[in-house]
Amino acid sequence: MISITALSLRPALAVLTTLIASGLIYVTGERVKANTREAITFVAAFINAALVYSMIPAVLAGKTIKLTVIEIVKGIGFAFNVDAAGMVFACVSATLWILTSLYSVGYMRGHGEKNQTGYFAAFAMCICAATGICFAGNLITFFIFFEALTIATYPLVVHYRDEEGTRSGRKYLAYTLISGQIMFAAIVIVYVCCGTLDFVPGGFIKPEDIPMPLMLILFFMMVGAGMVKAGVMPLHSWLPAAMVAPTPVSALLHAVAVVKAGAFATLRVVLYVFGPESAEYCHGADILAWMAVITILVSSLIAIRKDNLKARLAFSTIGQLSYIVLGICILSPSAAAGALYHIVAHAFMKITLFMAAGAIFVTTHKKNISEMVGIGKRMPVTMTAFAVASVGIAGFPFIVGFVSKANIIVGALEQGKPLFACTLIASALLALAYLMPVVYMAFKKDVTNPDFPCKAEASKPMLIPLVITAVIAVVLGVCPNFGLHLYDLACMAGNAIFGIGGSLL
C-alpha cells in the first residue's frame, strides 16, 4: 500500500464525488424541488472539475499520481494511475459536465421533459464512470468502469420510455455488452499469458509473450469493445439508433462520454497494453487503421445524404472518432499526441453543434435541415456558433480542429504513410460538404421563411454553454495550451508511449 497523501487521494475523490452525487440525486430527486436537485449536480460538477484541474501541475511536471485502493481480485489491485493521457480526457469530461448540465437544465425545462431525476442521476453516474476510465491504472479497474459506463448510459438512451427508445436501448446493450464480454475473455487470456495488467506507456505485451495468430485475435477481441463504443464501422449502427434520446444525452454520448471512452479504450489497448512494437508485429494496428479510414470516408458520404440534423451530426461523429483511432494506429508520437488532442478538439466542436441542434429543436421544433431555411435570421448567435464549429470540424486553421489534424498528418508523413494523410485531407473536404450546406441554408438572405419571422434566440441556459464551447474552440485553436495545458499533456503522453525525451513514465 502506498502511503496516502492528499495528493494521491484525488483521483479516488473525483470518482467518489460523482458517485455520491448520482446516488443523492436518485434518492432525493422526487422529493425536493427541482432547483435543489440541479444544485447537487452543479456542486458536484464544480468539485469534480476542481479536483481534476488540481492534478494538472503534478502531471505536467512528469509525475504520475498512483493510488491502490484495495486488492480487487487475487493479485491485482483496484488502482488509479493519473498520467498525461488520462488527464486530457478527464479535463474534457469535467469541463463539459458543467456546461452540459447547464444546457440540460435549459433543454429539459424548455421541453417539459419527464423522468428528469433519472436523467440527472444517470448523467452523474456516466461522468463517474468516465472519470474512472481516465484514471484507471490497470485493465481490471478500467474494465470495471467501462462496464459501469455501459450500464449508466442505458437509462439515458431509453429516456423516452417508448417503443423506439426500448428498441435502440436493446441494440445499444447488445453491441456494448457483447463486445464487453469478449474484451473480458481477452483480458483473462492476456493476464494468464503475461502475469500483469498494469498500463505501461509503450505496452507490456512483448511479441515473444503470445504466439502470432493468437495475438492478432486477442488484439481485436480487446479493441472490439473500444471499437463498438467509438463507432468504428461495421460496429457503429448503435450510434444512429441511440439518437432517439434527448439532445443533451446525444451531446453527452456522442461528444463526451461514451464515444470518447471508446476511443480512449482503443488508445489504452493499442498503446499501453500492446504497445507500438506488438501492435505493429501482429499487424493489428494496420488493419485497424484501414478500418478507420473506411469509416471516415463512408460515414462522411452517408452524412451528406441525411436530412435529419442529428443524424447528420451522428455520422459526422462516427467519422471524427475514427480520426482518433487512425491517429492511434499510425504509431507515431505526433500522431498519438494529435489523436489525444482530437479528443479535446472534437469534444468542444461537436458539442457546440449538438447543443445548437437541440436549441433549434426546442425553440422551433424543427428536426430536418430542409425545414431550417433562413433560420439564421431567427437565431443568429446559435447559427454563428454552429458555423464556427462546422468550419473547425473541417479543420480550418485558428480553430482547434486544425491543431489535432495537423499533428496526425505530420505523424502519418513521419511514418511514411502518405495515404492516411490524403484520407484526412479528403475527409476535410467531405466535412465541408455535409456541414456547410446547413450554414448556407441558415443564412440564406433571399428567402424569408414564414416560420422564422423575427429574432428569438434559445433560452439563456441553452445559449450560454454553446457560445462558451464555440469560443473555447477558437481560443484553443489559436493557443492550444491555453488554460489547462492540454496540448502539452497530449505531447507528453505521445512521447512517453514511444519512449522519447527521457520521460519518467
Binding site: I70, K74, F143, A185
Partner: protein, 492 residues
C-alpha cells in the same frame, strides 16, 4: 469453544422440536424461538470461522470416540464459510416469512417454522460432517423438510412435492449405493480415513463406479443438467417464505458434498480423475446453456429464476471441472454470491407478489415507483447474474475464466462469455419490464399500491442481500484468501 461445531447444528434442531410445542401457546412464539436459535447459530458459526482461520481445521469427535470408530465433525475454512452462509440466509428467511403467514392456525404456522428449522439443521449438518453416512442422514433430513415445505405451497405444490419426493429418494438411494461400494472397499466411513486408505489400496474400477453413482446422486440434488427435471416446478410452488432458502442454499450443499468427495476423498492423484473433470465439464457446459435457453422462454418470473438456477449451478460445477485453486475459489465465491443473488431475487419477487399479488412478467410495469428498494435489488442482482463489475458475479466469473485460461481450456471461457450474454437477455427483459414498460392495469387497480413499500420484516433481507452482493464483490480477495487456506492442499 470446543463444542462449537456441534452446537451450531444442535441449536436449530432443538428449536425445531420446541417450536411445535411452543406454537400451541401463541402462533408467533414458535417463530421467535427458531429465529433466536438460528441467530445463535449464526454468531457461533462466525466464531468458528475465526477459530478455523486462526488455528487451522477443527475436528470434533462425538462422545470422544476417536476416528475411525466414532463420528466426527470436520470443519475447515470452506465448511466454516458455508456454515456462516446457511445461518445468515436462514435467519434472513425467517425474518422474511412472517408476513406470508396467511393463517394464524397454531399448528400450521408452528409446523411450517419447524420444517424450516429442520431444513437449516440438515444443511448445517451436511456441511459440517466428516463422516459419509452422517452426510446421508443429514441429506435426508434436508430433503424431507424440503418436501414438506414445498407441499405447503398450494395445490400444485403438493404434486410438485410428491414428484420431488420420488426423485429425491432415488437420488439418496443412489448415494447410499455409492457409499456402500466405498465402504466395501475401505471398511471405514470416516472421510479422512477413507481418503488415506483409498490412496493406498483403492480399487480403481470400483471407485469409478461409486463415483458415477455419487455424481448422479449429487447432480440430482443440486439440479444439474440432465438431472434437473424436478427443480422448476418445485421452486415455483414452494411456500413463498421458504423459497429463498430452498433455492438459494439448498442446492449448493450437495455441490459442496461433491467437492468433498472428488477432491478430499478421492484426491487429485486418482487414476481416473481426469475423466471426472471431463464429465463434470460437459455437464456444467450443458447446464449453463440449457438453463439459460429455457429461462429465456418463461413468462412466470419464478420459473425463469428456477431455470436460471440450473445455469448458475453449472458455473459452480465448472469450477470443480477446471480444478485449479483459483477456479475452485471462483466456484465457492459463486456459491456464496449466488445464494445472495438468487435468494435476493426471490426475496424481491416474493415482496412483489405480497404487494401486488402477481408474478407474471407482463404485470411488472413500472413498479419501481412504488417499490424503489426492491427494484434496486432486482437491478443489482440481475447485473450480478450477468457478470457486470463490481458485483460478485463478475469476480467469480473472473476466477473461473483465469482458471480455465491457466489450464488452456479456452472452450470454457467461450461458454462463460456466451452464458453471460444469454443471462443478459432475460435479465434485461426483466429490467425493461420493471422500469420501462407501461404500467399494467392490474397493478394500478390494486389497493395495496399505497402504503409502505413492504413490511420491515421483508425489507431487512432485501437490503442485506443488496449490500452483500456489492460487498462480496468488492472484498472478494479477502474471501479468496480465506478459502485458499483449505483449497491449496486439495486442488489440482
Amino acid at each position: 469453544m470446543r463444542h462449537l461445531p456441534v452446537l451450531i447444528v444442535l441449536l436449530p434442531l432443538v428449536a425445531a422440536q420446541l417450536c411445535l410445542l411452543i406454537s400451541k401457546i401463541h402462533y408467533k412464539a414458535g417463530r421467535y424461538t427458531v429465529l433466536a436459535a438460528v441467530t445463535g447459530s449464526l454468531v457461533m458459526s462466525v466464531m468458528l470461522l475465526r477459530q478455523v482461520i486462526a488455528e487451522g481445521s477443527v475436528h470434533y469427535y462425538f462422545g470422544n470416540y476417536k476416528v475411525p470408530i466414532g463420528i466426527e465433525f470436520y470443519v475447515d475454512t470452506v465448511n466454516a464459510l458455508i456454515l456462516v452462509l446457511i445461518c445468515l440466509i436462514g435467519a434472513l428467511t425467517f425474518m422474511y416469512t412472517t408476513p406470508f403467514a396467511r393463517t394464524t392456525d397454531k399448528t400450521l404456522v408452528g409446523a411450517a417454522n419447524t420444517m424450516i428449522s429442520l431444513l437449516i439443521t440438515g444443511m448445517l449438518g451436511m456441511t459440517a460432517t466428516g463422516d459419509v453416512f452422517n452426510l446421508y442422514v443429514f441429506l435426508e433430513i434436508t430433503s424431507l423438510s424440503a418436501y414438506c415445505l414445498i407441499s405447503l405451497g398450494g395445490s400444485r405444490g403438493i404434486v410438485a412435492a410428491f414428484r420431488y419426493l420420488l426423485v429425491g429418494t432415488v437420488a439418496a438411494t443412489l448415494y447410499l449405493i455409492g457409499v456402500g461400494i466405498l465402504y466395501g472397499i475401505t471398511g471405514t466411513l470416516n472421510m479422512s480415513d477413507m481418503a488415506a486408505i483409498l490412496s493406498k489400496w483403492g480399487n480403481e474400477g470400483a471407485m469409478l463406479i461409486a463415483m458415477c453413482f455419487l455424481i448422479a446422486a449429487f447432480g440430482t440434488k443440486m439440479a444439474l443438467f440432465p438431472f434437473h427435471g424436478w427443480q422448476p416446478s418445485a421452486y415455483t410452488h414452494a411456500e413463498a417464505g421458504s423459497r429463498p432458502l430452498i433455492s438459494g442454499v439448498m442446492g449448493k450443499i450437495p455441490a459442496y458434498g461433491l467437492f468433498r468427495y472428488m477432491y478430499c476423498i478421492y484426491g487429485t492423484d486418482y487414476k481416473y480423475f481426469r475423466v471426472f473433470l471431463i464429465v463434470l465439464g460437459i455437464l456444467s457446459v450443458c447446464s449453463m446453456l440449457y438453463g439459460s435457453i429455457r429461462a429465456m422462454a418463461q413468462t412466470d418470473i419464478r420459473k425463469m429464476l428456477a431455470y436460471s438456477s440450473v445455469a448458475q449451478m453449472g458455473y459452480i460445477i465448472l469450477g470443480f471441472a477446471i480444478g485449479t485453486p483459483l477456479a475452485l475459489c471462483g466456484a465457492f465465491l459463486h456459491m456464496f454470491g449466488h445464494a445472495f443473488m438468487k435468494g435476493g431475487l426471490f426475496f424481491a419477487t416474493g415482496a412483489i407478489r405480497h404487494k401486488f399479488g402477481t408474478t407474471k412478467l407482463e404485470d411488472f410495469g413500472r413498479i419501481y415507483k412504488a417499490m424503489p428498494f426492491t427494484c434496486g435489488l432486482l437491478v443489482v442482482a440481475s447485473l450480478s447474474m450477468i457478470g457486470i463489475p463490481p458485483t460478485v458475479g463478475f469476480f467469480s466469473k473472473w476466477y473461473l475464466a483465469v482458471g480455465a485460461a491457466g489450464t488452456g481450456e479456452f472452450i470454457y471461457i467461450a461458454v462463460l462469455v456466451l452464458s453471460s450474454l444469454l443471462n443478459a437477455i432475460y435479465f434485461f427483459k426483466l429490467i425493461e419490464k420493471v422500469f420501462i414498460q407501461q404500467k399494467s392495469a392490474k397493478t394500478e387497480a390494486l389497493p395495496a399500491a399505497e402504503g409502505p413499500e413492504v413490511p420491515l420484516d421483508m425489507m431487512i433481507p432485501i437490503v442485506v442481500c443488496f449490500l452483500a452482493i456489492l460487498l462480496l464483490g468488492i472484498f472478494n480477495a479477502k474471501i479468496v484468501d480465506i478459502l485458499m487456506l483449505a483449497i491449496k492442499g486439495v486442488a489440482l
